[in-house]
C-alpha cells in the first residue's frame, strides 16, 4: 500500500485550510509594512525581504533594530535567533516528507510557518493523511497574502505620512504583546523564565548595550532557566519528542 505523499488534492486542501489564517496574519503584515516604511525601506526592499524571509516576527525584530546603514550582523543574528524555533518544527514534520524529494521537499520546507505547523499537527490528529502537498498549499497561500499585506502597509504609511507618535506604530509592539497570551502556560511554569528574560533585557539595555543584545541575552537567559528547571524532573519527559 503506497500512500501518495504530495498530491494536487493535498495542495487544494491546504489552500482552503489556510484561508481563515489569512485574516489573522494580514494585520501582522500591515504592521511589518508600516515598520519597514518607518525605517526608510523602499516598497521593493520591503517586498523582497518579505518574499525571501517570510517570517513576520523576525522581520519586525530586524526592523526594530534597523540603523543607517543597514545593520548586517545585528539583523541577521537576530533573525537567526528568532527563527531558531522553526528548526525543531521541521524535524517534527519529518514523517510528512518521507517520500517527498527534490524541489517539492525543499520548497515546502521553505514555506514552513508557525501557522502551517499548527495546522499540520491538527490535521495529523484527525486522520492518517500526511500529504506534504497540504503543507505546500498552506504555505503558498500565506506567502501570497503576506506580500499583499506588507505592500498594503507600506503603501498606507507612504500615503498618510505618519508621525512617529502615530498610533499605527503601536501595531508592531501589539503583535508581540498579543503573541504572549497563547504562549502563557501558567505562573508556576512561566513566571520565573519570563521575569528573568525581561529583567536581563532591561538590564542589558540599561547598561548601554545596543540591539540585538538585550533581546538575545534576555531570550537565552529565560529559555536556559526554563530548560534547567525541566532537567531535574527528568522521570516524566514533558511533551512529545521531536518525531
Amino acid at each position: 500500500m503506497v500512500r501518495p505523499s504530495f498530491t494536487g488534492q493535498g495542495v487544494r486542501r491546504g489552500l482552503r485550510a489556510a484561508l481563515p489564517l489569512v485574516l489573522g496574519t494580514f494585520p501582522f503584515g500591515l504592521a511589518v509594512g508600516v515598520a519597514a516604511h518607518g525605517k526608510g525601506l523602499s516598497l521593493l526592499e520591503a517586498l523582497l525581504m518579505s518574499g525571501l524571509t517570510f517570517a513576520g516576527t523576525a522581520q519586525l525584530v530586524a526592523l526594530e533594530l534597523w540603523t543607517e546603514p543597514a545593520p548586517l550582523l545585528a539583523a541577521v543574528f537576530a533573525t537567526f535567533l528568532v527563527n531558531l524555533r522553526m528548526a525543531p518544527m521541521g524535524a517534527a514534520l519529518a514523517a510528512w516528507f518521507e517520500r517527498v524529494r527534490g524541489w517539492r521537499l525543499w520548497v515546502t520546507l521553505g514555506l514552513l510557518t508557525d501557522q502551517a505547523y499548527a495546522l499540520a499537527t491538527v490535521a495529523q490528529r484527525r486522520g492518517p493523511g500526511r500529504d506534504a502537498g497540504f503543507l505546500f498549499g498552506v504555505g503558498l497561500l500565506l506567502w501570497l497574502f503576506w506580500l499583499v499585506a506588507v505592500g498594503a502597509g507600506h503603501g498606507l504609511a507612504e500615503a498618510v505620512r505618519l508621525r512617529p507618535s502615530h498610533p499605527l506604530f503601536f501595531a508592531p509592539v501589539a503583535v508581540f504583546v498579543a503573541l504572549l497570551v497563547p504562549l502563557w502556560r501558567g505562573l508556576r511554569q512561566d513566571a520565573a523564565p519570563w521575569g528573568l528574560a525581561a529583567a536581563v533585557a532591561l538590564a542589558a539595555r540599561g547598561a548601554g548595550l545596543g540591539p540585538p543584545w538585550p533581546l538575545l541575552l534576555g531570550a537565552l537567559a529565560g529559555a536556559a532557566l526554563a530548560a534547567a528547571r525541566e532537567a531535574p524532573a527528568g522521570e516524566a519527559p514533558p511533551g512529545p519528542a521531536p518525531r
Binding site: G24, P27, E45, L48, M49, L52, T53, Q59, A62, A70, L72, A75, V76, T79, N83, L84, R85, M86, A87, P88, M89, G90, A91, L93, A94, W106, L109, P167, L168, F170, V173, A174, V175, F176, V177, A178, L179, L180, V181, P182, L183, W184, A197, A198, V200, A201, L202, R205, L215, G218, A219, A221, G222, A223, A226, A227, E230, A231, G239, P242
Partner: protein, 100 residues
C-alpha cells in the same frame, strides 16, 4: 523603487539564515538528536524571546501605550483573535493620545 546594496545584503542574509532554520532543522535534527538541554532550550525559547522584545520596547513608551498593551492582552485572551487584539491596542492608543 530603490534597492540599496547594504539593504539587499541584509535581506539576503536574513533569507539565508531563515532557510537554514527551516530546512536545516529538518535535515540535521532528523539525522541526530540534539542534547537534552539544547532541545529543551529550543522548546522554551518563544516565550522568553517575545518578553525580551516587549520589555525594553514598553519601557520606552508612554502611558497610552501601556493602556494599549493592556487592551491587547484582554482582547487576545478573550477572543484568541490576533487581528482583533491588534486593532483594540491601536484604537486604545489613538483614543488616549487624542487627535490624529
Amino acid at each position: 523603487m530603490a534597492l540599496r546594496p547594504d539593504v539587499l545584503a541584509v535581506i539576503l542574509g536574513m533569507a539565508a539564515v531563515t532557510y537554514l532554520c527551516r530546512a536545516g532543522g529538518y535535515a540535521v535534527l532528523r539525522a541526530l538528536r540534539p542534547p537534552r538541554f539544547v532541545a529543551a532550550l529550543l522548546r522554551h525559547l518563544p516565550g522568553p524571546l517575545f518578553v525580551a522584545y516587549v520589555a525594553p520596547a514598553m519601557a520606552a513608551q508612554d502611558a497610552a501605550a501601556w493602556a494599549g498593551a493592556a487592551a491587547v492582552l484582554a482582547v487576545q485572551a478573550a477572543t484568541r483573535n490576533l487581528a482583533a487584539a491588534i486593532a483594540a491596542g491601536v484604537a486604545a492608543v489613538a483614543l488616549l493620545r487624542g487627535g490624529s
